[in-house]
């Protein structure tokens, strides 16, 4: 039975949203006007339409008043459209015979000072929705099979935890990490606040677990290069760089590196020690294997230029025959139902603010550099010595909020990075523990220590004799002879200008969105918040989901956070992914177009313009015609908006529906406030 032949019976539910709407929009009046609209057979005001009772009401009213179309005027459809569509389905209606009028975000909340206009606008929006819904036709959902595998991008503490949770639940999980080893920033830390656990001691076993898990396919030294598909069926291409060392054969003995003649700064120790061109990222690396860095290896460089097979010292040194100069880059194609993004953060580079002298003055370091200095595997083997001359440190200063809470500096963030205060508290505490006589000064604006056990820890530090000074030094100067650093700052608590000469300065550098995040976000069509991190689906209720179904967030890629919060979010992301992957198939909104074969002349403009190759021209008995690949289509409607023959019609959100809205919005108003 065609939808046209039946009588259209529209029910309109207008929400007060407590006072959120009703305080501005005169809901009663709007309801009165709406009652007079054609096809509207029933109108109800609700205090909270989205509540259990509100939903039950809709259900009942559909049954009682034989409604076959529903309009809800309340909040944004981006929030509750699925909620109400479910009610329709339950009541036996096609869920697409439904419209929402956004009278909260677009009326009451933004025109609070002009109640009259807000009321009129609310009516207009409802009228448009009614006009559209009576022209809408039922459409059937498309079924999408769910591929029961998951992809986690980023092997830091968040990504590892997410992968483990999924793998333990029996899901085959691919973990892609851009570095040669998993572990992320946490592996570089000496201790963790406020419990002072040894970071690698708690992380190391997890790394091993990830590496050995039968359900985890670990792909290191790799990056995602291409993404296609949608929830339940993402097709992801991963480029794995050649390591030139066979991971299965290598036992990480290190004989090769001993012989390698190429010396390079070791990134893991923040450039304060030397590594070779064949190296292992960290002693606890997973996979526990060396690799050759292509750009620096003498042999690979010469071969690339067409030269001879030079050097090869590592080849000779390796007893296990693990070195393979013929290794090639690999493109791995994955097909997964869900994706968790956990690519973490990058630390702010303070060298863009010359006043701090970072990189100019050897004794100015960042918190992450200092983590390595504190660490027994670091450049000083855990002894408190400074970089310029390896002398023991006697006086040290911390400067807070470098690259955070900074509106002026371009590369800096306006936000608080959340962890730097506690890192300073921890590092200062560690110094006192190593050498109680060292004088420690902390220059800060506010100390932010919100978290379980954080404030207590900070207060303990104060008692240990750490000096906290409110005020930030305008700049750092260096005594060129001694390489000591001179700080001048106003102590805002006393108003006194203080000059301070110290052996070393640690900058509490903020956390920034990682490099490549823009490109990754584009591949998945994700939005970024103003701070540059990835945007969650809802800041309160869906903190680990994204607006894109099947793509979830874990850890600092969403916003700076500490380790427990990263782990917690990873759990949330994994639980969401599991929820999805526990289904055999999902139902999707049919957004694809239909082609009017009478009108279509097979010109192919749609095929050229479709970003998803979801429409193509094929030969038929009636000549060339366009054909839609429904499951590949994402519903943008570009094809319809430019079809020369007007032969393409979107099923959901049709031209008819939109033109009906335009008409309704511009109709003369016969109402008065």
């Amino acid at each position: 039975m065609g939808a046209d032949s039946e009588e259209k019976r529209v029910g309109v539910f207008i929400c007060h949203c407590g006072l959120n709407i009703a305080a501005v929009v005169d809901v009663k009046k709007v309801a009165e006007w709406v009652r007079k609209l054609p096809h509207v057979v029933f109108v109800r005001e609700n205090i909270y339409t989205c509540s259990e009772t509100g939903q039950a009401q809709i259900y009942q009213d559909i049954k009682e008043h034989k409604l076959n179309r529903v309009v809800v005027a309340s909040c944004s459809p981006r929030m509750h459209e699925p909620t109400f569509q479910k009610v329709l389905e339950k009541a036996g209606l096609n869920p697409f015979l439904f419209e929402m009028a956004n009278i909260r975000e677009q009326c009451s909340w933004v025109h609070g000072h002009d109640k009259e206009s807000a009321t009129l606008k609310a009516f207009d929006l409802i009228r448009a929705s009614v006009s559209k819904v009576v022209r809408d036709e039922p459409v059937e959902k498309i079924r999408q099979e769910v591929k029961k595998e998951a992809l986690v991008i980023g092997g830091g503490v968040a990504g590892m935890n997410a992968a483990l949770l999924l793998a333990n639940a029996g899901i085959k999980t691919h973990l892609v990490e851009k570095n040669p080893s998993i572990g992320g920033h946490m592996a570089m830390l000496d201790k963790t606040f406020p419990t002072l656990d040894c970071s690698i001691c708690i992380l190391g076993p997890k790394m091993v677990e990830v590496g050995k898990h039968p359900n985890i396919n670990l792909i290191t030294y790799a990056e995602v290069i291409d993404v296609e598909g949608e929830v339940g069926n993402f097709r992801v291409k991963v480029r794995k760089k050649p390591r030139y060392v066979d991971v299965d054969k290598c036992v990480a003995c290190g004989d090769c590196a001993e012989k390698c003649p190429v010396k390079l700064p070791d990134e893991f120790n923040r450039g304060m020690t030397i590594r070779k061109a064949i190296y292992i990222q960290l002693p606890q690396a997973v996979p526990a294997a060396y690799l050759i860095e292509e750009e620096h290896c003498l042999r690979l460089k010469t071969l690339k230029k067409g030269g001879k097979e030079v050097c090869g010292l590592c080849l000779k040194a390796c007893e296990r025959d693990a070195i393979n100069f013929d290794d090639k880059e690999e493109i791995i194609e994955l097909n997964v139902g869900a994706v968790i993004i956990a690519t973490g953060f990058e630390i702010y580079d303070p060298s863009q603010e010359p006043k701090y002298g970072y990189r100019r003055f050897p004794n100015v370091v960042t918190q992450l550099d200092f983590e390595r200095i504190l660490n027994a595997d670091g450049p000083t083997k855990g002894e408190l010595r400074r970089p310029s001359d390896n002398k023991p440190i006697k006086r040290i200063a911390f400067i807070q909020c470098v690259g955070s809470r900074n509106e002026r500096e371009k590369g800096a963030g306006r936000y608080c990075s959340r962890v730097c205060c506690m890192i300073t508290a921890k590092q200062a505490f560690m110094i006192k523990e190593h050498e109680p006589d060292v004088e420690v000064y902390v220059y800060y604006i506010d100390m932010r220590t919100a978290g379980k056990g954080f404030e207590e820890f900070y207060q303990r530090g104060r008692k240990e004799g750490i000096t906290f000074l409110r005020g930030k030094p305008g700049k750092i100067e260096e005594d060129p002879e001694t390489h000591n650093l001179i700080l001048v700052a106003e102590d805002m608590d006393t108003g006194v200008l203080l000059k301070n000469e110290v052996d070393m300065v640690v900058l509490a550098t903020g956390l920034r969105p990682p490099q490549g995040l823009v490109e990754l976000a584009q591949k998945f069509h994700l939005s970024r918040s103003e701070d540059g991190f990835l945007m969650e689906a809802h800041p309160k209720l869906r903190p680990a989901e994204t607006p894109i179904d099947g793509v979830y967030l874990a850890g600092c890629v969403q916003f700076p956070k500490d380790i427990p919060d990263s782990v917690a979010q990873a759990g949330n992301a994994a639980a969401n992914a599991l929820g999805l992957l526990s289904k055999d198939y999902i139902e999707m909104t049919p957004l694809h177009p239909v082609i009017d074969l009478e009108k279509c002349i097979g010109c192919g403009l749609c095929e050229i313009n479709c970003p998803y190759k979801a429409i193509r021209v094929v030969k038929t008995e009636k000549g060339k015609k366009a054909e839609v690949i429904e499951i590949a289509c994402k519903g943008c409607g570009v094809c319809g908006a430019s079809c020369p023959e007007g032969a393409i019609e979107m099923k959901y959100y049709s031209d008819k529906g939109i033109e009906a809205m335009i008409d309704a919005l511009l109709e003369k108003k016969e109402v008065e406030v």
Binding site: S76, Q106, S527, L605, M661, I662
Partner: protein
């Protein structure tokens, strides 16, 4: 000029993923802005058909604003590039037809830019207030009807729809084209088409002579005659009798 009580009618097309979300954010952040705008949600700015825009003006809109995602952010990769071409062409058509192209505006707003959303809406509303009501007299209606015919014309839709891909990938022969030059070609196709559409809009009110059409459209008679010959070849216009010894032209089948 606008009188005090006049409130402009403004239609906004917002894409679901960025600008509509930006509008929502303006809401949740309680950022106040001018209340005249009426928003229609579309999935992508590239979905907005120029036909809708002209129809909105014909129905009495004083302004139309289209907001999409910033370049690189479109949920559908290139939809906003497509939108840019279509909206630009529509603005040009409005201008060629003698209407203020400022009544149609395109810009980009991300899901995080509630503030920017409100600012753009305020600015646009102000601009429309200054321009005053569109006042659809016969003259304007004729022009808009011609504009609607033009944006519905298959040839115009083809070249406008092709602009983005041709500039990106080159033409069928693999030649790269200079965007400016190619756009000028498109413009001349549009112009030619609009002239025909205007003639057809004039003929809507009954058969006319070349001179009558020419004076109505303020174009040289030779130009009108040329277009009429084309229109006859396209089967859109036919001879419709004689008036004062001058031939009359009429819309075919009317």
């Amino acid at each position: 000029m606008a009188n005090k009580s006049w409130k402009p009618s403004i239609i906004g097309f917002m894409c679901n993923w960025c600008s509509y979300a930006g509008a929502d954010l303006a809401g949740t952040s309680r950022i106040q802005y001018s209340p005249e705008i009426r928003i229609i949600r579309v999935l992508c700015s590239g979905r907005v058909d120029p036909k809708w825009i002209i129809k909105a003006f014909l129905k009495g809109a004083d302004g139309v604003i289209v907001l999409g995602c910033h370049f690189g952010d479109c949920h559908y990769i290139t939809g906003n590039y497509q939108a840019e071409k279509k909206i630009k062409a529509t603005q040009e058509i409005l201008e060629m037809a003698g209407l203020e192209k400022e009544r149609l505006y395109l810009d980009w707003v991300s899901a995080a830019e509630g503030m920017r959303f409100a600012k753009l809406v305020d600015q646009f509303t102000d601009k429309i207030r200054k321009l005053g009501p569109l006042k659809l007299d016969d003259e304007k209606r004729k022009k808009l009807t011609a504009a609607l015919l033009t944006v519905s014309n298959d040839k115009v839709r083809w070249v406008v729809g092709r602009e983005f891909s041709i500039i990106k990938d080159g033409n069928a022969f693999g030649e790269k084209l200079v965007p400016y030059e190619f756009h000028e070609q498109i413009k001349s196709i549009i112009k030619d088409n609009l002239k025909k559409s205007l003639i057809m809009a004039v003929l809507k009110s009954g058969p006319k002579t070349v001179r009558e059409i020419a004076s109505d459209l303020r174009e040289p008679e030779s130009e009108i005659l040329k277009q009429l010959v084309d229109l006859m070849r396209l089967d859109k216009v036919e001879m419709g009798g004689v008036k004062d010894r001058n031939p009359l032209f009429a819309l075919k089948g009317e």
